[in-house]
């Protein structure tokens, strides 16, 4: 187990190096930050000077090396747009993104699983069809459109919820949370629902198809033959056995939700990392972009690791196969 974790962590370093490399090679095309940092009337000499001090006149591999060496020391440089350390900026924005992503993932689980179970068990009921159709909308509508629709309905027409921002936040040590104020909670509703559309539909469809698969297996038939109640068959045996793929997908989705929060954050002006990244792209703020992409890569790797470890918890067979493990 420990060896497995260490191996995974080493792999994650490679993954992030690759991410940083790809990101860096792309950045050669995003334009020149100097032109946005200096006033238009700055002379060529001024521009060259700034380029030099920022190291932008160096060839690609030198810039990349400098970035990696600094990053290993925890220094991601200074944002060209805001003139502040990138690590501080990301740390400030991380809570907003994580709260949004976890809210969306929770909505995904708590709505997606029951809906999936229901549609698997009552395949022909009209509610199932409605849910399946709705989920089709969920997967096919782009996020920003869903966001704008929700804003139109709940902010403009009904006036119940704010259309942008994060409301009032409370600072708990290094973590700024919007979960402790009414305005913060209200502000969370629309973005998290927008962001959860895709996970909800995905989890629902996944649970449904897995569940239908499991319900056809022999042990379910045996369970029924033993005269177990429907409830025990469905939830004790069938649902449990569908959970392994659901955990994988939900885990990966969480990474995806964090990464793709960019769009939702832009629509709702949610002050998270995604919004920071979008601004950075427009400004060609290379340090922020590189650090963000590495962080997202890291989050994906960590989530994968946690998901793999959860398998051990959920699936007893994996524990049996482990050398030296208990069981019979």
């Amino acid at each position: 187990m420990l060896a497995f974790v260490i191996r995974r962590l080493l792999q994650s370093v490679l993954v992030m190096l690759a991410v940083a490399f790809i990101a860096f090679s792309l950045f050669n095309f995003v334009g020149d930050p100097v032109s946005l940092m200096l006033p238009p009337e700055a002379t060529q000499q001024d521009r060259e000077e700034v380029r030099k001090t920022l190291g932008l006149d160096q060839p690609f591999y030198v810039q990349f090396k400098v970035f990696i060496v600094n990053a290993l020391q925890g220094n991601f440089g200074i944002s060209l747009r805001l003139g502040r350390p990138v690590s501080a900026l990301l740390a400030e924005r991380l809570p907003a993104t994580l709260e949004l992503a976890f809210a969306a993932a929770l909505i995904g689980l708590f709505i997606g699983i029951p809906m999936g179970v229901y549609t698997a068990l009552k395949r022909d009921s009209w509610i199932s069809r409605v849910l399946l159709t709705a989920s089709l909308i969920g997967v096919s509508l782009p996020n920003f459109l869903i966001g704008i629709f929700l804003i139109l309905i709940f902010a403009v027409w009904l006036g119940w919820l704010p259309s942008f921002g994060r409301g009032d936040v409370t600072q708990l040590a290094f973590w700024s949370t919007g979960l402790l104020t009414i305005t913060g909670l209200k502000a969370l509703v629309l973005p998290s629902i927008t962001l959860s559309f895709y996970p909800v539909t995905l989890i629902m469809r996944l649970v449904r198809s897995e569940m239908m698969e499991v319900l056809r297996t022999d042990y379910i038939k045996f369970a029924r033959a033993r005269g177990l109640t429907n409830r025990s068959v469905h939830f004790g045996h069938a649902l449990r056995n569908t959970l392994v793929p659901v955990i994988t997908i939900t885990g990966l989705q969480l990474g995806g939700v964090i990464a793709f929060a960019i769009v939702t954050e832009t629509v709702f002006q949610w002050p998270g990392m995604g919004l920071l990244f979008i601004q950075a792209v427009q400004f060609a703020d290379i340090p922020v972009m590189a650090a963000y992409l590495c962080l997202i890569g890291f989050i994906f790797v960590v989530i994968n690791l946690i998901v793999d470890m959860l398998y051990f918890v959920v699936d007893p067979r994996l524990r049996v196969e482990r050398p030296g493990g208990g069981g019979h």
Partner: protein, 635 residues
């Protein structure tokens, strides 16, 4: 003074972030590949879809209902007090069931509670009546609040509220006394300013000549980006506590115009906080003055959370309240950056913000019909213009490799004749433009109406000129432009208009951050730019950067077509050293007429900027497209 670039001192109203679209596209692609498609899904009916929506709405509504009901908008005192009042009442009911000797006490308690509640209610209402918070939204967020650090519009829109300059502008955009009460020209190279007495900084310190001298040194230091705003100033010298001399490198009749954007900081505060120099990118550190401010303006900064809000409160000791320099009744201002145009307008329509200064052009007509909103517009000091590569002997991006057709004046004239300003104004700009014939706008020192004349729209004449120049069938050329609005739309309109005379224009629309570096390398044959003159509002500035030949230090930096005209260079030189205002203006007029004759650039129009606000907002339009809160009211 600035060119069209994203997040730059420029306009950029209504631009939809290009990467947002791209990002979403990529997102969708990755989504669809990761999705398992069930055929069952496709058996959807219309009613199912509707029912599905209903279901989802229900889902999100029910758990939140109590929350939502509680947070009724704008019910400042009422809703929070209701429970209090009810409780008071309940207490009295409870009291009556108690024993008689307690009964009286209970009733008294209830009575007291009621009085207390009324008092609280009254104070709250009074506060609500006095507290006037303006919520202002635009897509931009400042990069810094240091007034000398970044010469960008998004920044000066914030620093201009907090910090002030020695002279400022009135409603007609004429220079008026501000922190300085009077001035005199001692000699060609020395100007003496008398400072206003008793001007207080936000920390309580009183402004003196030391602060002005300090600010001058600071703005002239190498890390300052406001050097151009006060270019030509060599130094400031303190004469006495409230008198300062500015020493110029050469005579400058437009000095006052330049000084309007030079903002005064407090010496002691800056030095105490290690901010004696503007933020330095080389130092790679956070500068105190980039995040904190201490100015003399009508509003003081209390909070800046990037991408969330800039919050300012009224500076009650502002000298302008006593002097009637501003009539604001605001107690607080929140400047909210909202990147997505749709969200920004939704927030306005739903009443979460009071004013939006950059609505998408296409929505303005619809917003005008909304009875709760009003649209106020005005002309910005900014023109859109076309320019040619007049250096190379070939079209770098075009069909003519043997010679450069744009070097022939007749071809440039043909282009000018073929551009119909009315079409661009009505179809592309939806009326929000004033066609122009010159590169400076009426608000700028040295503007003359007789230079503001376009060649008439005349396709026949244009064709004849092209044929005369040896291109009866036209030629092909690529037109470079930025991807912001309205530049990309104008580009396409220009392509259509020029196709009438056989010039096949291929619009090449490039992301802003890559567009300018391309021009900087002169890597273009034909380009569209926008140019503002707001910082100094002086023609010399525009002439020097746009039309002076390139190569010199700080000359012709925006002459990306590398046009060279000895007559123009000589005129600009003479304008630079001319101390007599009238003569100077005559020379400027001469230079503008040369530009009209030679057509190194073809001005298209000056842009009309709409601000949308709630009916109760009273905000005066300024040609630099900035809301100044000291003259903004909430009725």
């Amino acid at each position: 003074m600035k060119k069209t670039r994203q997040n730059k001192n420029d306009f950029e109203a209504e631009e939809i972030p290009p990467l947002e679209k791209g990002g979403e596209g990529g997102f969708m692609a990755s989504r669809s590949t990761g999705t398992v498609s069930h055929p069952v899904f496709l058996r959807a009916t219309k009613s199912c879809i509707l029912a599905g929506c209903h279901f989802l709405r229900h889902q999100c509504k029910s758990p939140l209902a109590p929350l939502l009901q509680r947070g009724e908008r704008d019910s400042v005192g009422g809703s929070t007090l209701k429970p209090l009042l009810q409780r008071g009442e309940r207490d009295s009911v409870g009291g009556s069931t108690l024993k008689p000797f307690l009964q009286r006490g209970g009733r008294d308690a209830a009575h007291l509670l009621r009085i207390f509640a009324t008092v609280v209610l009254l104070t709250l209402t009074a506060q609500a009546a006095n507290a006037k918070t303006l919520r202002y939204a635009s897509q931009d967020d400042p990069q810094t609040v240091d007034p000398h650090s970044a010469n960008l519009l998004a920044t000066s829109r914030v620093t201009g509220q907090i910090y002030e300059s020695l002279v400022w502008r009135d409603a007609q955009w004429k220079v008026i006394p501000w922190l300085a009460t009077s001035w005199q020209v001692v000699n060609d190279r020395t100007w003496r300013f008398k400072l206003r007495d008793g001007v207080k900084f936000h920390d309580g310190a009183v402004m003196t000549a030391d602060d002005v001298v300090f600010s001058t040194e600071r703005a002239l230091s190498p890390t300052s980006q406001m050097r151009t705003a006060i270019q030509g100033i060599e130094a400031a010298r303190k004469v006495d506590r409230l008198t300062v001399d500015f020493i110029l490198t050469e005579p400058n009749p437009a000095l006052l115009s330049h000084l309007t954007n030079f903002r005064i900081m407090n010496k002691a505060w800056s030095e105490k906080n290690g901010a004696a120099r503007p933020q330095d990118y080389k130092a790679k550190e956070d500068t105190f003055s980039a995040r904190n401010a201490n100015g003399t303006g009508a509003f003081k900064l209390v909070e800046w959370s990037p991408d969330v809000r800039v919050r300012m409160v009224r500076h009650n000791d502002w000298w302008g309240f006593a002097e009637k320099a501003g009539n604001t009744n605001l107690t607080e201002v929140q400047m909210l950056p909202i990147k997505s145009p749709a969200t920004r307008l939704a927030a306005l329509v739903s009443g979460e913000v009071d004013i939006v200064i950059d609505p998408p052009t296409q929505d303005v007509v619809r917003l005008k019909r909304d009875p709760s909103l009003k649209v106020q517009d005005g002309l910005e000091i900014r023109i859109q213009y076309l320019a040619f590569d007049l250096f190379r002997d070939e079209l770098l991006y075009g069909s003519e490799k043997k010679k450069n057709p744009f070097k022939d004046l007749r071809v440039r004239q043909a282009v000018a004749h073929a551009l119909d300003p009315e079409i661009i104004k009505t179809k592309v700009m939806r009326g929000m433009a004033r066609p122009t014939g010159t590169i400076v706008t009426p608000e700028v020192v040295g503007y003359s109406a007789d230079a503001d004349k376009r060649l008439p729209y005349d396709v026949k004449r244009a064709r004849a000129l092209l044929a005369e120049a040896g291109y009866p069938n036209g030629f092909e050329v690529t037109l470079d432009c930025g991807n912001n609005q309205p530049a990309s739309d104008i580009c396409q309109a220009v392509a259509v208009l020029l196709s009438q005379i056989g010039i096949k224009v291929k619009p090449n629309i490039i992301i802003q951050s890559a567009f300018y570096p391309k021009l900087e390398k002169f890597d273009t044959s034909f380009y569209l730019l926008s140019w503002g003159g707001g910082v100094t509002a002086d023609s010399l500035y525009t002439l020097n950067l746009l039309l002076h030949s390139t190569g010199g230090k700080g000359e012709g930096d925006f002459n990306m077509g590398r046009w060279r005209n000895a007559e123009m260079d000589a005129l600009i030189k003479s304008i630079r050293s001319e101390a007599d205002g009238a003569k100077r203006n005559a020379n400027i007029r001469e230079a503008l007429l040369i530009a009209n004759r030679e057509l190194p650039v073809i001005p298209l129009h000056q842009q009309r900027i709409p601000w949308v606000m709630k009916k109760n907002v009273d905000a005066a339009f300024t040609p630099v497209n900035t809301v100044y809160f000291y003259q903004t009211r909430l009725n």
